[in-house]
Amino acid sequence: MAVVIKTVNLTKRYGTLVALSNLNLQISEGDCFGFIGPNGAGKTTTIKILATLLQPTWGEARVCDYVVGYQSRSIRPLIGYVPDYFGAYEDMVVQEYLEFFAAAYNINGPQRTKIVNDVLELTDLGYKRDAAVDGLSRGMKQRLSIARVLVHDPKVLLLDEPAGNLDPRARIEMRELLKELRRMGKTILISSHILPELADLCNTVGIIEQGELLYSGPVADIVRKASGGTIVHVGVTRAPEQAAALLSQNPSVDSVAAHNGFIKVCLKAGISDFSFIPAQLIGAGFAVNLLREEEVNLETAFMRLTKGIVQ
């Protein structure tokens, strides 16, 4: 797969504040890359640099092999940028809004009308074509933003929190729309705070904190990396401390902790079979009433990898 987005030691400073520090990122064609990080981590700055709106202080960012800054003009027709706000023009209706941006991409004549109609159909906004833009609901506006970036059929979509502040229905509709775009072969870079949805939508993610990329790779890998070893929660009917002491002697166990009547057992790396736990406890006369493996998802991985430091 060809690399569509690549950053090398990308750094951005605002005065003394370091927004990005030596960010190295690679996104391949057709990938849906989820950009995760706390507020102020540098996600928007990265997206703005890739959208040619900001110049890096140093380092390099490339989109489709064009260098941001030197070849920005070549990059712009290839990208579609959705910021974390809706840029509304007053007194424009939906169709005019799309035609306005189509004209900005030099799409004119009958071709423009056809494309606008197609995009309205794709985003299910056809019935709103005559509606005033500033009167649309937040969900509709967000969908219109996506429609806006599709009029020129870009290869890369840069979406900065497209599902922020949306209600559950609008969020699900947005997710389905993005899945459809992914199926169409678009490369998507999306930043969001709604991690379960990113896990569902993206095949690769990057975790950024304080301008530094902590992790970048497939979703499954990050979960595996974050999880370390298998963790099992065990409940016994009596004397959890004694049961914990018993389990700690097992060579497969890394650590054991008893808390609030439950025992948290961490197995050594590489060991995932925990069937010995109930066998050992029952054999020692303990009655087991709970046995559950801790599920490690993107949310947990994020919490484990980041420190919650906000700039």
Binding site: T52, P83, D91, E96, F100, Y105, D130
Partner: protein, 694 residues
């Protein structure tokens, strides 16, 4: 009792909104700079007057010192009022909506603060700054007391007029903000400002019109016209002029007024306009504030504004859906020219401007084209067989005509045959046998004679062009900053639109936006040219003079368009450089007003200069659009020596040709200026935007 005292304490002295502003006001750097600037201006003015009045400076002539003191007071009062009138709209316009913009309005409404506390707190906290400014000037005003010549009462009145002006401006902004929740936002401060300026300038000009003054006949039967007008008590500058005891602007004595105007409140209004002004403005402020207090929360709860309701009723704006319009190839130009113009408020203002402007011109033309009704006139009323002349008018009478009657028509001598014509009777003398021995006639007057028509048309045209210039400057100055503020600029910059394309689109769109407005003065002049042409063809009068020179049809549109383009590019330049819309608007309007005033002043000075060659001065005057308009419409009054019929070597035709040729040169100069500013903007666009995004 304690509860009532507590209520009033919380309403004003203990009002938390007022306290917040008062406590922080002295610490703001901006406020300190404005205050220092204001006091500095007053000091400079006093120093300037003292140093230029050679008769009294260092002299012991007390009478001259007193005179200078009065002059200082007069100038300072005007300056103080002008600054208050200019600053008040800026400070008071955002009274409520600034709270709304910063999303603290709903929080404020959800507190136990009463409507009265919120309204009065917001209003007085805004007016506070202006009042503090006035108070800070008292020590400088007290200089006038050293020399004498100024009554303390006059100083007191001067301050009251300024303070009441600030108060009524604030109350007006407050009432409009609560009714529409619009005034005070970035986009509407300018409209409010424009309204205040039009009110002040418009009423000041109307004051010079004859029908605004009271005409009456005294006991001895002599006709009189008052120096003050119906507008004096409603206009701060006119009211202020009264307190200076200007010999040309004195209010009438009560005893001189006709009986019907001697009753209260007319007697108060006519004899003491200054006290009427500040009392009336105080009452008006209360009248504006009371509904605001009563309706504050109710208006905040309403879901549809009165303005939207009106706009929907007249089918402009306010609707949720409509048929899409076709977008131009250059979407930026389309956006500036079409969507702004069709927005409800803009449509209303545009159509209002066009309708008002054209109606005014048609009214002027009608008044100029139709005959007036003189007090006495003749119209085929001479019976030669009986030697009797019927004089029509206010007093209809049949009078005998002496066989040796002397007939004069204007400056020329007439015959008895002329008595069968249609003329106004200026006066006549009765000789022996009560027959007319001498009669002075003149052409039947028009309701608006040529001179008056020119003056009015010029005034209206200049006013219209000034408003257009302010509109385009405001639109241009807010065009980039507004996009920076609402984030739409980022969307555009991530598209392949280049800076050249973007700036050219804006410029083209802005000029297209004002083209229908520019058509108003041009069409007005065209109407007069067409009328004059038809009259000339019909009458073939050798004494015929154009109201507007026909070359205006070529010179006016081109000159007005290029000056608008200049204003647009200048406004865009400021819009690009400034971070906020308000700053961009204020600085570009300031530059344009300053440049136009300077060019107009220079143009007028050159035209009336005795040393300059008349044709050359005409050529130089064309550089200012305003002096160019005077040369095209009213050159006999304002065109200087080149058009003066009393100067033997004056050559009006040559001056017209010079003006036309120079107009082409000036157009090229303006075009070059616009082009170079455009190129510089294109060159620096990316750099400036990048700097600001840091």
């Amino acid at each position: 009792m304690l509860g009532i005292a507590d209520y009033f304490w919380r309403l004003l002295p203990g009002n938390p909104i007022l306290l917040r502003v008062v406590q922080t006001a002295g610490k703001k750097r901006r406020d300190a700079i404005i205050r220092c600037g204001y006091l500095g201006l007053l000091v400079v003015m006093v120093t300037w007057i003292l140093s230029t009045s050679g008769t009294s400076y260092g002299s012991s002539d007390l009478a001259a010192l007193t005179k200078d003191s009065a002059l200082i007071f007069q100038y300072m009062s005007y300056l103080q009022l002008a600054l208050v009138a200019l600053l008040s709209p800026v400070f008071t316009a955002g009274a409520i909506t600034q709270e709304r913009d910063s999303q603290t309005y709903d929080i404020l409404l959800a507190t136990p603060l009463t409507n009265g506390q919120i309204v009065l707190g917001s209003l007085l906290s805004r007016v506070f700054f202006v009042v503090a400014l006035l108070v800070s000037g008292i020590p400088i005003f007290s200089i006038t007391q050293i020399f004498g010549g100024v009554a303390i009462k006059s100083i007191f009145y001067s301050f009251l007029i300024a303070a009441s002006t600030a108060l009524v401006t604030g109350a007006m902004a407050m009432a409009m903000a609560i009714a529409t929740l619009k005034v005070g936002t970035r986009r509407t401060i300018f409209s409010f400002y424009l309204f205040i300026v039009i009110y002040l300038v418009g009423f000041y000009l109307l004051d010079s019109v004859d029908f605004m003054h009271l005409h009456y006949v005294d006991a001895a039967g002599n006709p009189h016209t008052t120096q003050t007008s119906w507008l004096t008590g409603l206009h701060p500058f006119l009211a202020l002029r009264v307190i200076f005891n200007d010999a040309n602007y004195l209010p009438p004595n009560l005893a001189d007024l006709p009986g019907r105007w001697q009753s209260w409140p007319y007697s108060w209004y006519w004899t003491s306009p200054a006290t009427f002004y500040f009392s009336f403005m105080l009452i008006a402020s209360v009248a504006l504030v009371l509904p605001s207090i009563l309706l504050l929360r109710r208006m905040a709860q309403s879901t549809s504004g009165f303005k939207n309701w009106v706009l929907q009723k007249i089918h402009i704006g306010g609707g949720a859906t409509r048929k899409p319009r076709s977008v131009w190839y250059n979407p930026i130009a389309w956006r500036e020219a079409r969507t702004k113009a069709s927005a409800g408020r803009a449509s209303f203002l545009r159509y209002g401007f066009i309708l008002l402007g054209l109606s005014g011109s048609i009214l002027l033309l009608t008044m100029h084209a139709t005959e007036g009704s003189p007090h006495q006139f003749i119209s085929s009323g001479y019976d030669a067989t009986r030697n009797m002349l019927f004089i029509d008018g206010d007093t209809r009478q049949d009078l005998a005509v002496s066989p040796y009657v002397q007939v004069k028509i204007g400056d020329r001598d007439g015959t008895t045959d002329d008595l069968n014509g249609r003329y106004e009777v200026k006066d006549f003398t009765l000789g022996p046998g009560n027959s007319i021995s001498q009669i002075n006639l003149r052409d039947f007057p028009r309701r608006l004679d040529s001179e008056q028509t020119r003056t009015w048309l010029l005034g209206v045209t200049i006013l219209e062009f000034s408003v257009i210039l302010l509109i385009i400057t405001n639109a241009a100055a807010s065009t980039v900053t507004r996009e920076k503020e609402d984030g739409t600029l980022d969307l555009l910059l991530s598209t392949p639109i280049t800076s050249r394309y973007y700036i050219w689109g804006k410029l083209r769109g802005l000029v297209s936006f004002v083209l229908p407005l520019l058509a108003v003065p041009v069409v007005s002049c065209f109407l007069f040219i067409a009328h004059d042409l038809l009259r000339w063809l019909a009458e073939g009068d050798s004494r015929f003079q154009w109201i507007v020179f026909p070359e205006a049809l070529l010179m006016m549109p081109s000159m007005l368009i290029i000056v608008c383009a200049f204003a647009a590019i200048l406004g865009m330049q400021m819009s690009l450089r400034c971070r906020t819309t308000v700053r961009a608007v204020m600085s570009s309007v300031g530059i344009i007003v300053g440049a136009c005033a300077l060019l107009g002043w220079c143009g007028n000075g050159i035209l009336n200069s005795r040393s300059a060659i008349p044709e050359l001065s005409v050529g130089a005057a064309v550089f200012s659009p305003f002096t160019m308009l005077t040369l095209l419409i009213d050159p006999y009054d304002f065109g200087g020596r080149a058009y003066d019929p009393l100067i033997p070597d004056a050559d009006p035709e040559g001056a017209r040709v010079t003006a036309l040729v120079m107009c082409i040169v000036v157009l090229c100069v303006y075009a070059l200026l616009v082009w170079s500013m455009y190129k510089s903007m294109v060159k620096n666009f990316d750099m400036t935007i990048r700097k600001q995004s840091r």
